[in-house]
C-alpha cells in the first residue's frame, strides 16, 4: 500500500473536521433572504384598508425618492415595538409605506391609534400574495427601495433603535 493511500483517510478527516468546526463557530443563518435584492419590485396594486389612508401600488414607489416598505400586521407582537422606531425614522424625513398582511380594518386602526402611525400609505394584503412575491417569509420585514423602484436592502425581523443609523445609511445609498 503506497504512502499516499495510507495517509488519505487522515487528510480527509482533517478536511471534514475543518468544515464541522467552521459550522460550529459560525452558526447557520436560518433566515430566508429574498432573491429580489438588487432587482426591481414586482408589480402590485394593493387596496386601501384604513379610511383616509391612501392605497399602495408598486408604481408609487418609483418616484425618484428612496422609500422604506414595511411588511407588518396588527397581530404581530414585535411590530408593536418596531412601529415606534419607524416613527423616529419618519421624523428624520424617511418615506415609510406599509403592507398590512392578513389584517382586519378595525384591528389595524386600533393598532395605529395605540402605537402611532408612521405610514404615508398602507396597502392591504389579505392572502399574503404580495408578501410572497416580494420574497418575504414573515412579519415584520422591511425593504429599502430606491427611486427607480429597485429593492436595495431587506431587513428580516424588526428594526430596533440600534438599526436606525444603518437603515438611514442604506436609504442614503439608495438616493
Amino acid at each position: 500500500m503506497s504512502r499516499a493511500i495510507r495517509f488519505a483517510p487522515l487528510a480527509l478527516l482533517v478536511l471534514i473536521l475543518a468544515v464541522l468546526v467552521w459550522r460550529l463557530a459560525t452558526p447557520a443563518d436560518t433566515n430566508v433572504h429574498s432573491a429580489l435584492e438588487g432587482k426591481p419590485l414586482p408589480a402590485f396594486n394593493l387596496p386601501a384598508i384604513i379610511p383616509g389612508k391612501p392605497a399602495l401600488s408598486s408604481a408609487e414607489l418609483a418616484t425618484g425618492q428612496p422609500h422604506l416598505v414595511n411588511v407588518f400586521a396588527s397581530w404581530c407582537v414585535p411590530c408593536v415595538t418596531e412601529v415606534k422606531v419607524l416613527q423616529t425614522l419618519k421624523d428624520r424625513g424617511v418615506h415609510i409605506e406599509g403592507i398590512a398582511v392578513r389584517d382586519r380594518p378595525d384591528d389595524l386602526a386600533d393598532f395605529l391609534a395605540r402605537n402611532g402611525d408612521p405610514y404615508e400609505r398602507i396597502g392591504s394584503d389579505p392572502q399574503s400574495d404580495v408578501q410572497i412575491s416580494l420574497g418575504s417569509s414573515g412579519v415584520p420585514e422591511s425593504f429599502v427601495v430606491d427611486g427607480k423602484g429597485v429593492i436595495r436592502y431587506q431587513q428580516i425581523g424588526p428594526i430596533d433603535a440600534s438599526d436606525v443609523p444603518m437603515i438611514l445609511s442604506k436609504l442614503e445609498q439608495a438616493r
Binding site: M1, P9, L10, L17, V19, R23, L24, A28
Partner: protein, 646 residues
C-alpha cells in the same frame, strides 16, 4: 448518600481506566505480563460503573429532588416506568449510561477474549480505556449527573411529553449497545495495529461484537423507520433526513465490516481494509451522535441539540479517529497481505460487496454533508433531498442485491466449477416478474420495476446455499445468512410495491362524504372532540369498505398544551395485502376537514424484511457463540474450510 456513592464509584472507575491505560503502555514497552492485572481492572471498572448507574436509577425511582438532574427531568406524579426511563432521557444520564455500557463491554472483552494474543488483548483494553477516559472526563468535569441542589425543591419540572413513549425508553439503550459493539471492534483494530498482529484470530475475536452491534443497529433502523411512518403522519417510511442518514451510515459500515471480518477470519486476507473499516464504522457512529447533538444540520431530531456538547463530541471524535487514522498511516505498511485468492472466489465476491457498500456509504455521507461544504466554500445555501439519494444509492443497492445471490455460492480461494447454472431458477423467476410488470403496468417507474425483478430473483437465490445438502445439518450461521439475505428480498419487494402501487387521496370532506382510495371506499361519518391524560384532540370516525369487508378507523389531531404541540395520530389498519393509512388535518373556514388517505399494498413487507435481516444476524451470532462455547478447538480453520467446501 446514594448520589455521593454513585459519584465516588464513577471517580474510582475513571481512576481504574487511567491505570488500565498506563499498564498498556508499560506492557507494550517492556513486554511485562500484565494480562491478569488488566483483566481484574477491566472487570472492577465495569462493576463500578454499574454501581454508579444503579445509584442514578435509585435516585430517579425515589424522585429524590435534591439531585439537580432529577429535579430538572422528573416529577413525582409520573408513571414509574417514565421515572426510571427519565434517568437516561437527558444528557448527563445518557452519558453515564454510555460509559456504563462501554465499561461493561470492556469487562466482557477481558473475560471472554481467549482468541487473540495476549499482547493484542492488552493493547485493545488500553484503547478501550482511552475511549472511556474521554467520557469519564466529560461526565466528572462538565456534566456531573449527581450534583445536589440545596435546599431541595418540593417537586421536579417533568419530562418532555414527546419523550413519554415506551418506545423512546428503549431507543437510546438499543442504539448505545450497537455503538459500543462497534467501539469494541475499533479498540481491537487499534490494539492490533499497535502490536502488528492482524490475523484471523483477531477477526474471530471481533466478529461476535460486530455481529451483535449490527443486529441492534438493524433493529434500531427498522423500528425507527416504522415509528416515523406511523407517528409523523406523512405516509413515508424513509425521508433521507440527516438523523436517519446518521443511523444508516454506521449500519452500512458495519455491514461491510461484518463481511470483511469473515474473509479475515477464514482466509487471513483483507487485513488493512478490515482494520480501516473497523475504524470507519465506529467513526460513523460518533459522526452520527455529533450530527444529532450539535444541531448543525436541520432535522426532526431537534430536541437533543446543544452546541457546546457538540463541540465536546467533535473534540473526542477528532482525537479518537485522528489517532486511529494516524496509527493506520504509520503502521499500515507493516501489514502483510494474507492468503492469495483468484478472480472468481468467495473472497473477491466479498471484496465487491465491500466496494459497493462503501460507495453507498460515501454517497450518503457526501449527500448529508454536501450542503455544509458548499456553504463553506461558496456561501451558497442548498439542500440535498430524496431524488439524489434514490437516484444514486437505489441502483447501487439493486446491483448489490443481485450479487448477494451469487456470492454465497462461490468457494473460498478459487471457484473451480461454473456457478451460474445454479442460478437458472432464480433468474427465471426474476425474468417472469419483469415480464409481468411490463404486461400489467406499462408505465411503472424503472426503480420499482427492477425492485420486483431483483426481489423475485433474490428470494429464490438466497435459499440456494441450503439446496443440494441436508439443510438440517447446515451450520446455524449458514441458516442465519440465508434468512438475512432472504430478508433483503422481502424488504425490496415491499419497497417496490409501496413505490409502484400506493394510492394517495388528499381531500376536503364533510361528515357524510364518501372518498375512494385504491380499492377502498371511505366515508367520513363523524368528527368528535376527545381527550387523554395530557392532551385534547378531534377524532374522525371513518368507515372503510371493500366488497363485504367493513372496518372503522379513528385518526386524531392532538394538541398538547405543555409545551404547545400539535401532532397527527394516524390510524392504520393492516391487512394481509397492505395497509390503509388515514390522517385528519385541520378544519377549513367552511367547516370541512382535511383528510389524507393512503392505500399501501404490501408496505409491511419492508419492516418484515428488516426484522428477518436482524433475525438472520441473531441466528448467525447464536451459531458462532455456540461453536465458541462448545467446540473450542485449535483446528477451527480446517473445520471451517471443510464445511465450506462440503
Amino acid at each position: 448518600m446514594i448520589a455521593e456513592a454513585g459519584l465516588s464509584a464513577l471517580w474510582l472507575a475513571a481512576g481504574l481506566a487511567l491505570l488500565q491505560l498506563v499498564l498498556m503502555v508499560v506492557a507494550l514497552r517492556s513486554g511485562a505480563d500484565v494480562r491478569r492485572a488488566m483483566r481484574s481492572i477491566a472487570v472492577v471498572q465495569g462493576v463500578l460503573t454499574l454501581i454508579a448507574f444503579a445509584m442514578l436509577l435509585i435516585v430517579f425511582a425515589r424522585s429524590d429532588m435534591s439531585v439537580a438532574l432529577v429535579f430538572e427531568n422528573s416529577a413525582s406524579n409520573k408513571p414509574f416506568i417514565y421515572k426510571v426511563a427519565g434517568a437516561w432521557g437527558n444528557h448527563e444520564g445518557s452519558m453515564l449510561m454510555w460509559v456504563t455500557i462501554l465499561a461493561v463491554a470492556g469487562a466482557f472483552v477481558a473475560m471472554l477474549a481467549h482468541r487473540t494474543s495476549e499482547r493484542t488483548l492488552v493493547a485493545a483494553l488500553g484503547a478501550q480505556a482511552v475511549l472511556a477516559l474521554g467520557f469519564y472526563a466529560f461526565l466528572l468535569i462538565a456534566s456531573n449527573p449527581f450534583a445536589r441542589l440545596w435546599p431541595a425543591p418540593p417537586d421536579g419540572q417533568g419530562l418532555n411529553p414527546l419523550l413519554q413513549d415506551p418506545g423512546l425508553a428503549f431507543h437510546p439503550p438499543t442504539l448505545y449497545l450497537g455503538y459500543v459493539g462497534l467501539s469494541v471492534a475499533f479498540s481491537f483494530a487499534v490494539g492490533a495495529l499497535l502490536t502488528g498482529e492482524v490475523d484471523s484470530r483477531l477477526a474471530r475475536a471481533m466478529r461476535p461484537w460486530v455481529l451483535g452491534a449490527w443486529i441492534l443497529l438493524t433493529l434500531g433502523i427498522t423500528a425507527g423507520s416504522y415509528w416515523a411512518y406511523y407517528e409523523l403522519g406523512w405516509g413515508g417510511y424513509w425521508f433521507w433526513d440527516p438523523v436517519e442518514n446518521a443511523s444508516l451510515m454506521p449500519w452500512l459500515a458495519a455491514t461491510a465490516l461484518l463481511h470483511s471480518t469473515n474473509v479475515l477470519a477464514a482466509r487471513g486476507a483483507l487485513k488493512a481494509w478490515t482494520m480501516m473499516l473497523a475504524v470507519i464504522a465506529f467513526s460513523m457512529s460518533m459522526v452520527g451522535t455529533f450530527l444529532v447533538r450539535s444541531g448543525i444540520l436541520t432535522s426532526v431530531h431537534a430536541f437533543a441539540i446543544d452546541p457546546q456538547r457538540g463541540t465536546f463530541l467533535l473534540a473526542l471524535l477528532a482525537i479518537y479517529v485522528g489517532a486511529a487514522f494516524a496509527l493506520f498511516a504509520w503502521r499500515g505498511s507493516s501489514l502483510k497481505e494474507g492468503a492469495p485468492f483468484e478472480l472468481v472466489s468467495r473472497e473477491s465476491g466479498l471484496v465487491v460487496n465491500n466496494l459497493i457498500l462503501t460507495v453507498i456509504l460515501g454517497v450518503v455521507f457526501v449527500g448529508t454533508l454536501y450542503p455544509l461544504f458548499v456553504e463553506a466554500v461558496s456561501g451558497e445555501k442548498l439542500s440535498v433531498g430524496a431524488p439524489y439519494f434514490n437516484a444514486v444509492a437505489g441502483p447501487l443497492a439493486l446491483l448489490l442485491a443481485v450479487l448477494v445471490g451469487v456470492g454465497p455460492l462461490l468457494a473460498w480461494r478459487r471457484q473451480r466449477r461454473p456457478v451460474l447454472h445454479r442460478l437458472q431458477v432464480p433468474a427465471l423467476l426474476g425474468a417472469t416478474a419483469l415480464a409481468i410488470t411490463f404486461i400489467l403496468w406499462r408505465d411503472m417507474h424503472i426503480l420499482p420495476r427492477l425492485g420486483f425483478t431483483v426481489g423475485a430473483y433474490l428470494a429464490a437465490a438466497s435459499i440456494l446455499p441450503l439446496v443440494g445438502r441436508n439443510p438440517l445439518r447446515a451450520p446455524v450461521a449458514t441458516w442465519g445468512m440465508v434468512v438475512a439475505h432472504f430478508g433483503i428480498s422481502v424488504a425490496l419487494v415491499g419497497m417496490a410495491a409501496n413505490a409502484a402501487f400506493s394510492s394517495e387521496r388528499l381531500a376536503i370532506a364533510k361528515p357524510g362524504d364518501v372518498l375512494s382510495v385504491g380499492p377502498w371506499l371511505v366515508q367520513l361519518t363523524d368528527v368528535v372532540p376527545t381527550a387523554g391524560k395530557n392532551w385534547t384532540a378531534v377524532e374522525a370516525e371513518l368507515r372503510a369498505a371493500k366488497g363485504a369487508q367493513l372496518v372503522t378507523l379513528t385518526p386524531q389531531s392532538r394538541y398538547y398544551p405543555d409545551p404547545p404541540t400539535q401532532t397527527n395520530e394516524s390510524s392504520i389498519r393492516t391487512f394481509w395485502n397492505g395497509q390503509l393509512y388515514t390522517v385528519i388535518g385541520n378544519q377549513d373556514a367552511s367547516g370541512a376537514w382535511q383528510l389524507r388517505l393512503w392505500w399501501k399494498p404490501f408496505v409491511t413487507l419492508i419492516w418484515a424484511g428488516g426484522a428477518l435481516i436482524a433475525i438472520g444476524g441473531a441466528l448467525a451470532l447464536i451459531g458462532r457463540l455456540w461453536r465458541l462455547a462448545w467446540r473450542r478447538r485449535p483446528s477451527g480453520d480446517a473445520e471451517w474450510r471443510k464445511e465450506r467446501y462440503a
